[in-house]
């Protein structure tokens, strides 16, 4: 590692920070301070803009660094993540996007509260949204930390910690000053940068192999030391039945989790109509699908050109495979091309982390202010405006994520994201689908389905090998693990649906027919939508 690509990367990154801060100040110049403006950016983004912003929100460092890294290390098994992350968008497109746009105002809880007793469902849905967001934030923070460790060419603990803190501070500034409008523009800029960087690297990989995908794959298989087994499932999840069940669990979480992510749901409120929400999802599926196809090329490219051993030596969980690949594609360490490409990739990854982190922070501050604060404040206490509360909440969530991010810094980023998806799929998706499609759903059912998914998901993670009992876990020294799977999805997602059903059928109060009619008519026609 020479000093020059570090310097260049830092310069490029500073440029991105400067540009995004300029966007933030420029946007906040026009600020009205209304909730509409802060949470939904005025609701006048075009489908194209929102499509890029959704893609920007979704294509996190976990995808860019984590999935390519997993493919570089484990071959085909890493690719299973890409498939799950993409297919999940069909759930969003077909069942969620338009209906949520029509029924809600700012958050997931709005949709549920439209036909239930407001206070308990807001508290429940607000809590689970914050939990999902914090888990997801931690994953992004870990990504930022490991990227910097590579950049500074060593395992400088202080540098990693300061990066995590710096990213946290920046995101609080973006969110609390700029709100949704600034966050959206940052996502768009980032999505364009990320797509451009990924396309450039993919083209370089394919050029290196003269456009011959077959030779790329066989070189990767050969270099990996596993032969053809590298191109088939089983290297990571093929061991005993626990590992296989773990994989099925992860697969479920990935495909069902996206539709429960608060920062994705809040993006549908930035466009004027359900039709625009649908068109923005179509745009984002195009972008996200082509992005994941390219990460597959990058992952196998890293395996073929760098080799899994060298990737593992740089970062045990593979998060640095793509930067190393960029260095090699540009001509190797010390060359100008390698320096420039490495710096560009590092800067793009930083930009990605910052943007995603800003998006999640905004969504969770909306949950705190719009759902939790408005439901929990005492009626006669001094009233603060919701937006002011949201700004403070952004700072609080930033602090929590920084702390947890420092703690979890050695876990694979894509894997951490898998956990966040499992919680989202268990706690948020059942209540959302029941509210939109089930006539007999009641308040008790709503509250039970949120807690019935959230609590098992979180508890199962706490007693899983992720936290204790294995050399890679968070606390390797102790062992209190009871649950064999790393990902709780296979158990907690059915529990979330089951709890909602039991809560509903045991409800003393009958379902509110009129408010169900209102939800259904509004969700499908857009009548009365804001």
């Amino acid at each position: 590692m020479t000093g020059s690509h570090q310097t260049l990367a830092l310069v490029l990154f500073s440029v991105f920070v400067a540009v995004t801060l300029a966007i933030t100040t420029w946007v906040s110049r026009h600020r009205h301070g209304s909730a509409e403006e802060f949470y939904a950016g005025g609701r006048l983004f075009s489908p194209l803009e929102n499509g890029f912003a959704i893609a920007g929100d979704y294509m996190s460092a976990a995808s860019f660094l984590g999935i390519s890294g997993l493919i570089a290390l484990y071959g085909y098994d890493g690719m299973l993540y890409s498939v799950g992350f993409l297919v999940a968008w069909l759930v969003v497109l077909l069942l969620v996007a338009e209906l949520v746009r029509n029924c809600g105002r700012f958050t997931l809880a709005d949709v549920v509260a439209a036909r239930m007793a407001e206070r308990p469902v807001r508290i429940a849905a607000g809590t689970s949204s914050v939990a999902v967001s914090v888990l997801y934030l931690v994953a992004q923070m870990v990504g930022a930390g490991s990227l910097v460790a590579l950049l500074l060419g060593g395992s400088s603990e202080a540098a990693r910690s300061w990066t995590v803190i710096g990213v946290g501070a920046l995101m609080v500034i973006y969110v609390s000053l700029g709100g949704m409008r600034a966050t959206t523009w940052i996502q768009i800029v980032k999505a364009v940068l990320l797509m451009a960087g990924t396309i450039a690297l993919t083209v370089l990989v394919l050029l290196r192999f003269h456009g011959d995908v077959n030779s790329l794959l066989s070189t990767a298989a050969e270099r990996s030391g596993h032969g053809p087994g590298f191109l088939a499932p089983g290297l990571r999840y093929g061991g005993d039945w626990t590992a296989r069940l773990d994989f099925i669990s992860l697969g479920l979480a990935l495909v069902l989790g996206t539709a429960g992510l608060p920062h994705i749901l809040s993006r549908f409120y930035t466009v004027p109509t359900a039709r625009a929400a649908r068109r923005s999802v179509v745009w984002s599926i195009g972008l996200i699908g082509s992005f994941y196809l390219m990460t597959i090329v990058l992952g196998f490219g890293a395996a073929a050109l760098i080799g899994p051993d060298e990737v593992r030596a740089s970062n045990a969980s593979g998060n640095t495979a793509v930067p190393l690949l960029a260095l090699d594609l540009g001509g190797g360490a010390g060359s100008t091309g390698g320096t420039v490409l490495f710096a560009v990739v590092a800067a793009v990854a930083f930009a990605t982390i910052l943007a995603v982190v800003a998006g999640i922070t905004l969504a969770s501050s909306a949950s705190v202010a719009h759902d939790l604060y408005t439901s929990l404040r005492r009626p006669h206490a001094k009233q603060y405006s919701e937006v002011a509360v949201a700004r403070v909440a952004a700072a609080g969530i930033g602090a929590a994520a920084i702390g947890l991010g420092l703690l979890a810094r050695d876990l694979n980023v894509a894997f951490l994201v898998g956990l966040a998806f499992a919680v989202a799929a268990s706690a948020n998706l059942p209540v959302l689908l029941y509210s939109l499609f089930w006539r007999k759903f009641t308040t008790r059912g709503a509250v039970w389905s949120v807690y019935g998914g959230l609590i098992p998901a979180v508890l199962l993670v706490l007693v899983s090998p992720v936290v204790s009992g294995s050399p890679e876990s968070l606390f390797p020294g102790v062992d209190f693990h009871l649950f064999p799977l790393q990902n709780p999805g296979a158990v907690s997602i059915p529990l979330g649906f089951l709890a909602g059903w039991i809560g509903t059928v045991t409800s003393p109060e009958p379902p509110d027919e009129a408010r169900h009619a209102e939800t259904e008519v509004r969700s499908l026609t857009g009548a009365g939508a804001v």
Binding site: Y76, L80, G229, G234, I248, A514, A517, E518, L524
Partner: protein, 161 residues
Amino acid sequence: MEQVDRQEGRDATAMAVDDPWYEATASGWSGETATGASGDGRLDAVPRQRVHSAAEIYLEVQRSPAFQEVRRRYRRFVFPATLAFLLWYLAYVVAATAAPGLMARPVAGAVNVAMIAGLGQFLTTFLLTWAYARHARLRRDRAALELRWDTQEMTRGMVQP
């Protein structure tokens, strides 16, 4: 005049709505204009009576044939489609974990069954996205928009008696 329009709309609807998959592919051949005219347009309007509260208005709209038709078109597309892609994805995941031998079978060069299946997932996702967007645009959007204006007019009438 209105009566005639309505009648045509209903017939065309009964004919075309039967199978959303068929509709999506078939209309691909006949082109924009033809399907646009085949008329998701004029369904039975919401019957206008004197109503008193927002709750009654929404209940009445919900019971109206026009709304039932929009809901039926939506559900008849998304429920089977969701079931299909979830099963296809689950089959893929289970095959990857339970039948690695099958997945590792080579097809051409370094490409094996697992690669084909994975890329197949990408392809079906893109295709279903396209089919859904097309179905919603041609079969649902106009009718939903009319219902929206009708409903909002009724609720406005309630606020300003």
